[in-house]
Amino acid sequence: MPMERNRGEQKGGAWVALAGLGPLLVFSNGLSIGLALGISFLVVHSAAAASALLLPARFGRARIFAFAAVGAAIAASLCASIIRLLDPFLFESAYGRIFIIAFTLPVCRACIMPETIADRERGVENVVRGLAYALVVAVTGAVREFIASGTVSVNYSGASTALLPIAAQPAGAFILIGLCAAGFNAVMRAAKGSER
C-alpha cells in the first residue's frame, strides 16, 4: 500500500505543469523578475494557445503543433526584446530563462490542437490557465523576495540576503514550492471534507 501512495502525482496534470514551470519558479526570486517572467509567460502561452486554436484543422496535428511552437518561440523573442528595451540589466540576467518559456510543458500543452468542437469552445480556458500560471510565477517572486530580504521592491537589484537568504536560492525555491503545494493540498482536502 505505501508503495502506491506517492504515485498519485502521475495523474495530476496540474502538478506536471507545476514541475514544467520549475525553471521559471526557481529563477523568479524577486517581484520585478517575477513580473517580467510572468507577463512573458502569459504572452507566450497565449500565442501558443491562439495558434493551435486558430490554425485550420486541415493542417494536421503535427504541423499545427510545430507552427504553434515556433509562434511561441517568436513571442518569447519579442518579449525578450521588449524587456531589453525597458531594462537592459534585467535582460542580461534573465534572457536565458525568458527564452526557456517557449519550451516549458504548459506551453507545449497549449500548442496541441484542440481535438473536438467542445475543446475548441473551451479555448478561453487556456487563456485563464496561462493567466493563473503567470500569477503563480509573479507571486512566487514577490514572496521569495519578501522572505529573503524582508521587503518587496519593483526595482531589480539582484538577490537580497538580509532576512532569510536561502529563499533567494534555488534550494529555497524548491522548498517553498513544496510547502505551498502541500498547503494547497491540505486546503483542498479540508474543503472536500467539509463538502461531505
Binding site: 501512495r5 502525482e9 495530476g12 502538478w15 525553471p23 496535428r61 534572457y95 510543458l105 503545494a181 482536502r189
Partner: protein
C-alpha cells in the same frame, strides 16, 4: 577552470537540475542503459557547442541575440523530430504522439546549452561542459529517484504526498549540492 573542475562544477553547484529547476517527470529517471546516458551526454555536448558557436559567431555580431530561441528552437525541434522519425522507422515510437518526457529531455538539452554556451569560448570546453552538464543532471535525477523510492516506504502526511515531497526533496538535495560546492570544492580549486 580545468576539465575536472568543469565536471565537479556541473555535478554539484552548477547542476542543471538545481540551477534550472528541471525536475524530471515521475518515471523519466528509470534506469537507462549506459549507451543511453552516453548518447544523452553526446547530444548535450553537441547542443552546447552549437549554441555557443551560434551565439558568438552568428547572432552576437549582428546584435540578434533575441533571436536565439527561434534559431535554437529550430535546431532542437529539428533534432527532436529527426530522432522521433528514426525511432518511428525502427518501430520504437510513434512520430505523431505527444511525448512530454521527450520535451522535458529537450528542455534539459536547452538548459545545458544555455548554461555552458555563454561560459566558454573553447570548442573543447563547450563539448566537455555540455557532456558534464548532462552527466550531472543524470546523476542528480538518479539521486532524487533513489530518495523518492525510499520515501515511498515511509508514512508521509497526506498533503505532502506526490509533488510537494518531490519539490522538498529536490530543495534539500540542492542545498546539499550547493553546500558541498561552496564549502569544499570552491575553496579546493582556489
Amino acid at each position: 577552470m580545468s576539465i575536472i573542475g568543469i565536471v565537479f562544477y556541473f555535478s554539484l553547484g552548477g547542476n542543471v537540475l538545481v540551477q534550472w529547476g528541471l525536475i524530471p517527470l515521475r518515471g523519466a529517471e528509470k534506469k537507462t542503459a549506459p549507451w543511453g546516458v552516453a548518447a544523452f551526454m553526446a547530444a548535450a555536448a553537441v547542443a552546447s557547442t552549437f549554441d555557443g558557436l551560434l551565439f558568438r559567431y552568428v547572432l552576437a555580431p549582428w546584435n540578434l541575440e533575441s533571436l536565439a530561441p527561434v534559431a535554437f528552437a529550430f535546431f532542437l525541434l529539428g533534432g527532436f523530430g529527426a530522432v522521433r522519425a528514426l525511432q518511428t522507422l525502427a518501430g520504437k515510437a510513434d512520430a505523431l504522439r505527444y511525448d512530454e518526457r521527450g520535451f522535458q529531455t529537450t528542455l534539459v538539452l536547452y538548459a545545458a546549452a544555455m548554461l555552458v554556451g555563454g561560459r566558454f569560448s573553447s570548442v573543447w570546453y563547450l563539448l566537455g561542459g555540455g557532456a558534464a552538464a548532462a552527466f550531472g543532471y543524470v546523476a542528480a535525477t538518479r539521486f532524487l529517484e533513489a530518495i523518492l523510492q525510499r520515501l515511498d516506504l515511509e508514512p508521509i502526511p497526506a498533503p505532502f504526498r506526490g509533488a510537494p515531497i518531490r519539490f522538498i526533496c529536490a530543495g534539500l538535495m540542492a542545498l546539499a549540492f550547493s553546500g558541498i560546492d561552496a564549502g569544499f570544492f570552491a575553496r579546493f580549486i582556489d
